[in-house]
């Protein structure tokens, strides 16, 4: 094994969890994410010399993101990912699948988890990626801007719009649920 491969593995493999999480959320499919992540790592290896002095994590995630978008573009999977329009696409998303109420707290928690996952899944890709990078990978705004290839201000506005959409889609689902939750929280 050459020094270059060794250096690459040490720099890039620790970020595999984050790379996978991003690709899996963007493509919503294990096999597609697998292909995209492998392809991205090969690309990253080819351009590894360009990395000097930069942080590997946003650099690598940017390549992973581009590999995912390339796939979506080639396959025209979803029109909104091809031509994302800040105004048009910031409308309401359909509420995620509703769960029927159950008094058991465990069930409540699991149902809540499912609702949150479904709500994120229903977001347009441009909103989904900022939520995943910010909330799950806990990345800085500057790094998210680099990964998504957009200005910092756009990251902020997408993030706040994405949060508003999530709140909306979670709230609309089960009216009258508020009091029940408060009781749980106090018990």
């Amino acid at each position: 094994m050459t020094d270059r491969t060794r250096q690459f593995e040490a720099a890039a493999l620790p970020h595999l969890d984050a790379a996978w999480n991003l690709a899996r959320w963007l493509l919503r499919d294990d096999q597609l994410a697998d292909d995209a992540v492998q392809e991205a790592y090969l690309r990253a290896f080819r351009f590894f010399d360009g990395l000097r002095g930069e942080s590997a994590r946003p650099w690598l995630l940017g390549i992973v993101r581009n590999a995912c978008y390339d796939w979506m573009r080639q396959n025209r999977q979803l029109a909104d990912q091809l031509e994302f329009d800040e105004l048009r696409d910031s409308g309401a998303v359909p509420p995620a699948s509703a769960e029927c109420a159950d008094p058991a707290r465990q069930w409540e928690q699991r149902a809540q988890g499912e609702r949150i996952n479904a709500a994120i899944d229903a977001l347009p890709a441009a909103y989904r990626e900022v939520i995943v990078l910010r909330e799950l990978e806990e990345m800085r705004y500057e790094d998210i801007a680099r990964i998504a290839g957009v200005p910092l201000g756009t990251v902020m506005s997408r993030l706040s719009r994405a949060r508003a959409l999530l709140r909306e889609s979670l709230r609309d689902e089960r009216p009258g649920d508020g009091t029940e939750r408060t009781q749980h929280a106090n018990s």
Partner: protein, 221 residues
């Protein structure tokens, strides 16, 4: 349900799935990168742009210089430079975590782990459990470093993993612990009693120092 601004983040972090990569993906990536590295080395020069050729030449020059330098160093001393060794130690640590191959013998019992190495190595690595000090033994495996098979002992500290690589030193010289950082990992290296040890972890520097000094106390003569 009404969700406030500051509730949404924690709610997402607690409930949203952080998808985990399938087992073996890291290994498949490493393999395809290695075969790519092998393929690029030979025939690609002809089709490269002029800049590519220059870069290729530069790479060749670097490679040749490295090989020459390495040859000199190897001639002077059988031990590779600490720098290269530190890098190999870090790479082994990373691979052990990614490839789901942390331990061949998973046991917190030193009397299970130590005999496991017998017959697999031409030396007997010192194995101690530091559970009472917050570093429980998790197991051991064989690994490859410095051109030979070495013992890799796995310790844990909370969510952190420490890989301790042990193999015979070239001489019985005592080397006090030297600490370094590489790719965000902490490394400690020392030698005594004819054995050399490299510890690597994502622990903070102070904790790894504590681990190294405990290890030296317990395994020292």
């Amino acid at each position: 349900m009404q969700i406030h601004d500051d509730e949404l983040g924690p709610l997402i972090r607690r409930h949203a799935v952080r998808h985990a990569p399938p087992a073996g993906l890291a290994e498949r990536i490493a393999q395809s990168v290695r075969s790519e590295a092998g393929a690029v080395a030979a025939p690609a020069v002809a089709v490269r742009s002029r800049r590519g050729v220059w870069r290729g030449l530069a790479w060749f020059g670097t490679g040749a210089a490295t090989a020459w330098g390495l040859a000199l160093v190897l001639q002077a001393t059988p031990v590779p430079p600490q720098d290269a060794l530190g890098e190999a130690v870090t790479a082994n640590h990373v691979r052990s975590l990614m490839a789901a191959h942390l331990a061949d013998v998973a046991s917190s019992d030193q009397h299970t782990v130590k005999p496991w190495f017998a017959g697999k190595l031409d030396f007997s690595p010192p194995v101690v459990d530091l559970a009472s000090d917050g570093f429980p033994l998790a197991g051991g495996r064989l690994d490859y470093l410095d051109g030979r098979t070495v013992a890799a002992l796995v310790y844990r500290s909370g969510p952190h993993v420490i890989n301790l690589f042990v193999w015979p030193a070239a001489d019985a010289k005592l080397q006090p612990p030297a600490f370094s950082t590489r790719q965000g990992y902490q490394l400690a290296h020392w030698a005594e009693g004819g054995m050399q040890a490299w510890a690597v972890s994502d622990l903070n520097a102070a904790e790894l120092r504590k681990f190294a000094s405990l290890m030296r106390e317990r395994t020292g003569p």
